[in-house]
Amino acid sequence: MSTSAELLAVAIVLTNLALLGSSRMGGLVRAMVVQGLAIGAFPVVAWAAGVSAWAVPFGLFAGAIKGLVFPWVLMRTLRRTGVSREVEPFVSCGMSLVIGLVAFGVAVWMGSRFSLDGMAYPTRLIVPVALFTAFVGLFLIVSRRKALTQAMGYLVFENGIYLFGVALVGELPFLVEFGILLDAYVALFVMGIATYQINREFHHIDTDRLSRLKG
């Protein structure tokens, strides 16, 4: 069991590195699909380890939202706005990878400082991986030029918080609820981006002109 949780943790770390290193928008979205599905599988694995059974529907729901719905919305926005397929980073992709590795080292060190003895987390790796995912999300927000990549960074950041919630699942359902709340916020955020892109399409943020589009 613990090995399957560990493999999931490795998969999430690898998708984080892919997010940092990818220079194409499509690659970013694909990495987010894998990450979302792996993250959704985490509570299921925790259930196999003896967490209450409602972790299973919860995990499936989270996996469906994070691994399928969000990337679909992102992909649709990407297609509709017709922005270029390059990521346009402020920090080059290679440098991002190196920074990501340093961040992972820091996350592992910080994770070792947490004492979560009573918690139901399925592998000791989950706290460092959660912290690392949050770091990567924040880094994507500050280091990428496009509004859409910033939204992805936000989603990745949220994934990290969610993973932290999984570590405490059964002990602190409140934290999980908090994660879901953030999910809803992210949906709003994505919509905001779509609006932003529409505005950019018309070279205006003048809502007066937009309202005239109504037939």
Partner: protein
């Protein structure tokens, strides 16, 4: 010492050029061709060894030393490579470092020989080769350090005697990351497709082949044989990690190792048939990713 521990390394001397044949046949199969004979590399070696050598008057002894040093480094590395859990012929504590720097030595002399010709074209290839190897080396070292950490040993023989199916059960994630990183290193170090195209002799994008353009005849035979040994030894490293079969019978283990090498050659052929060569600017990216995976594997271990 079991006879298999001498026969198996010696089989590398004979079988190494066969890997090229396997790769080429796989690529031909993907392209719907029949392809060259499996033993083509041997025919090439035979042909080249019976040719005369032509040396430019601008070159010095360094130009002639390049292929010889390259081949000798490959032979020493072959003697250091343990096969299927049996100690190598020349194992000693710390031979990991020698193993890594033998390739650096060979590369250094190949680069010098390329520069010795005075050709700008070869200098360009030399520059690229050195740049990419500077990125491949940390990846290789981190991978070896991870393996050393798992086994608690500092010689290749100790390391690979300790990698068993039980290690895979205990540290599977780390070993899988190391295996992937090693695969990228094998492709990069042997000038295989995502990094370099071994088929192009006259493209501006090539790295390794351009450095040896001026070598001909027996010198080129040495280079060809040396590069096949390099593929064999670095591939053997990967196969030792990925296929640690321990039946207790050294002959069976050796057979598993040899079939692992064959599968590796086919895998390289598949990669070459299904992937395009990376842009030169993207190659450091790929090597960085390999280094990142090795580093991750190490972090997972020491956490």
């Amino acid at each position: 010492m079991h006879p298999a521990s001498i026969v198996l390394p010696a089989s590398g001397l004979v079988l190494a050029p066969l890997l090229f044949g396997l790769i080429n046949r796989t690529k031909a199969w993907f392209a719907g061709r029949r392809g060259q004979p499996l033993l083509q590399a041997y025919y090439d070696l035979y042909k080249l060894l019976h040719k005369g050598a032509v040396y430019s008057r601008t070159t010095t002894w360094i130009f002639r030393a390049g292929p010889i040093v390259g081949l000798s480094a490959g032979l020493v590395a072959l003697a250091l490579l343990p096969i299927a859990g049996m100690p190598s012929l020349a194992a000693f504590g710390g031979d990991v470092v020698l193993f890594a720097y033998l390739w650096a030595l060979a590369r250094f002399f190949t680069v010098l020989a390329a520069l010795d010709t005075g050709s700008a074209f070869e200098g360009m290839g030399a520059s690229r080769e050195v740049q990419f190897s500077a990125l491949a080396e940390p990846a290789l070292f981190l991978a070896l350090a991870t393996l050393a950490r798992i086994s608690g040993q500092l010689s290749l023989s100790g390391i690979f005697t300790a990698v068993t199916p039980a290690t895979w059960a205990a540290e599977g994630s780390s070993l899988a990351l190391v295996a992937v990183a090693l695969f990228v290193i094998v492709l990069a170090e042997n000038a295989r497709i995502p990094v370099d195209d071994p088929n192009t002799h006259l493209e501006l994008t090539m790295i390794h082949e351009v450095m040896v353009l001026d070598h001909g005849g027996p010198d080129f035979a040495l280079i060809l044989y040396g590069s096949s040994l390099k593929l064999w030894v670095l591939g053997g490293l990967l196969v030792n990690v990925a296929v640690p079969v321990r039946t207790g019978n050294p002959w069976l283990d050796g057979l598993a190792f040899l079939s692992g090498m064959a599968v590796l050659a086919v895998a390289i052929g598949v990669v070459e048939s299904t992937m395009a060569r990376q842009k030169l600017l993207r190659v450091p990216h790929l090597l960085l990713a390999a280094g990142a995976m090795s580093a991750l594997a190490l972090v997972f271990l020491v956490r």
